[in-house]
Symmetry: none
Subunit: 401 residues, 2 copies
């Protein structure tokens, strides 16, 4: 939670409802040919109409100049200081494929890689082998057993997989095996704390067996393991804000993030259409809804400006259905920018809209980076967005007499 003294003393539980729509990778940057960003290019009449009765602003996900991963980007929107709360790479990768992680389990991100006859790395990604080739290899590794921990190897995509260790007394305090360059040998795992020795042994035995099992392979003849991590223990979102929160997300990673902060996760959703339907279906049961829209980020990461524009237009078409519910506070935010011209997550401030009974006269002219930069919310750290949500929902008393 954000550093606010005695937040619990000024938060009230009330019947008002907050919907936070998070469009992944929402923010963009102007195209050099047109001078217009994806949002400025898109035909988004519903979002622009919403802007006219919303307060506009921009969120800085972490700090100026810092491009966040999905973990820090979302934690900030939920009010968790992304520099204080951290989710490891292994855990996030496991959440992304819906692995049921329990407290204490250790997850690592795995890469298939290529080593030469002397055991030195020649390709850290095994020539980016396709999923078809990698999946059976992951299944083969999944047969490995070692004393002291139960192992699971799950293919993710292409050369990537997840290794999960389950059992008693495991620790995430392990060094990584990736030397981060070719020409060097994969390193053994070392325990970074005494309590991690047994886990390190288990992982090293796993690696020894991997080397044997893959020795006849041409490309994927070894693995690299990074980001050993356990499920973190964060203060519960619902308790801190006195909310009864629900997460509505079709993609596993975002359900996982919501679970980490203790939201109820609505299961069985496969599209944004189903998400919006779920929002309607469960609207009476909760007072806070995190609604995740994935597609803008994917198009931005592909560097496809036109495709990202299209995903924003598709999102726009859903806005009337969300507005039918007329939530007391409706927020449209992004976890980070994914400018198509970068084809990657960006550090740019992300446009945000907040509509409540107090904002009907705001008149933010449109929903895009430029209009929101001039909006009444200003440019602020994303970790404060929840305080604005609570205040606009009438759930936050004044601070101090």
């Amino acid at each position: 939670m954000i550093d606010f003294p005695d937040l619990a003393d000024i938060v009230d539980s009330t019947p008002s409802k907050i919907v936070m729509l998070v469009a992944d990778g929402l923010g963009g940057a102007p195209h050099p040919d047109t001078g217009k960003s994806e949002l400025e290019t898109a035909h988004i009449p519903n979002l622009n109409r919403l802007a006219k009765e919303s307060a506009g602003g921009r969120t800085v996900p972490v700090l100026p100049g810092i491009a966040p991963g999905s973990g820090p980007g979302h934690l900030a929107l939920f009010g968790y200081d992304p520099l204080k709360y951290f989710i490891g790479r292994g855990v996030l990768e496991a959440l992304g494929i819906d692995v049921d992680l329990r407290k204490g389990s250790v997850a690592a991100r795995g890469n298939f890689c290529t080593i030469d006859g002397s055991g030195l790395l020649t390709d850290r990604r095994a020539g980016r082998i396709p999923s078809d080739e990698a999946r059976p290899l992951a299944e083969l590794l999944n047969t490995i057993t070692v004393p002291g921990a139960e192992l699971e190897v799950l293919h993710v995509e292409g050369y990537r997989f997840v290794l999960v260790l389950r059992g008693q007394g495991l620790s995430e305090k392990l060094s990584e095996t990736d030397p981060q360059r070719t020409g060097a040998a994969p390193m053994p795992v070392t325990a970074l704390a005494p309590e991690a020795r047994r886990t390190a042994d288990a992982v090293n035995q796993f690696i020894a067996q991997v080397r044997e099992l893959l020795s006849t392979q041409k490309r994927a003849n070894m693995v690299l393991l990074r980001g050993f991590s356990q499920l973190p223990s964060f203060p519960a979102f619902g308790k801190a804000y006195k909310l009864n929160p629900a997460a509505i997300a079709a993609y596993p990673m975002y359900r996982g993030l919501a679970k980490i902060v203790g939201m109820r996760v609505i299961p069985g959703l496969h599209s944004f259409d189903e998400e919006v339907e779920a929002l309607h279906r469960h609207y009476q049961e909760h007072d806070f809804f995190y609604l995740h829209y994935k597609y803008a980020d994917a198009a931005g990461e592909d560097g496809d400006f036109a495709a990202k524009v299209k995903t924003l237009e598709e999102l726009d078409a859903f806005i009337p259905r969300i507005l039918e519910l007329n939530p007391d506070v409706l927020i449209v935010a992004g976890d980070h920018a994914t400018p198509s011209i970068m084809a990657a997550h960006g550090w740019q401030p992300v446009p945000v809209l907040l509509r409540s009974r107090l904002t009907k006269g705001e008149g933010t002219p449109a929903f895009n980076e430029r209009a929101c930069a001039a909006g009444s919310l200003g440019t602020f750290e994303a970790k404060y967005l929840m305080l604005l949500a609570l205040s606009h929902a009438g759930k936050l008393q004044k601070y101090g007499p």
Copy 2:
């Protein structure tokens, strides 16, 4: 360095080049007669053209309402939190006249002053005696010797001089002698920590001899000493950011500041013209260049609006020569505002431009306070500027998975 966990983990050294042009006292304030600031009044076609392909914003040097000296102003631009990293007045004054300070030496800022027959201050600046009168007196004081430290007295300008103590076991933990008001007597130096006793003795013996030597003077018959300080030990800029930085500055104080953060200082420069030439000459040797333009600050401090406008126009004429190098990231920033209407350093946010391959479509309409306030970078603490520089240069990976 800024408080960012494990910055080293996400910074990469790459061939891309960053040029940070710091126009001293760049920012201004609107003239009451015209409603236009110095930048808005100046004819600066090159900077305005640059703005159109740059992201614009404003830096807050320290905190809103805090006018910084050159030390904090520059440290912030280099990414050092100016509230955590401090350079003493004595050290900065010594750097300003190119004194070769070594680790352990103590420097103090000295004023000639006037005392009456009872030893009470009648003028804390000795009637602002001119350099011609003060210089021989400083040379006289330079003959003083005391046990336990080697002394040097160096004239600066007008009534100001620097006292440097060299030797083993010296300490900066000394009280100042200036009572900050007339009618009181200059105070003896006291040790603020046990390890400073010997240094305090040496300084007090120096002061006793000064009193004797100057007793026949009418105006400058005593001295006040302030800002006892030693060279600080800061984390090295180059190491923290994985850069190979060069400082290009004609004025000694700015070379000194750059030296404190561990930049390579290009010697033998006496004008901005020579500085720009040096930038060209050394361009292949470094990946970060701090280029200092002094004149805007001096005119602002004089309260001469028209003169400050002229210095900005002169700076503008150099922009094409800098652009010839086409650096991957070009930043035009200021260490602080020096509004002519204040005739002093100001606390106002300072306009900043950043041009990179990602900003071609930005279209900041002009380079001035108002246009930059609406720019996409927003208004942010100057200490984050380096993160933006690194990100735009492709040297900073995303934070967190």
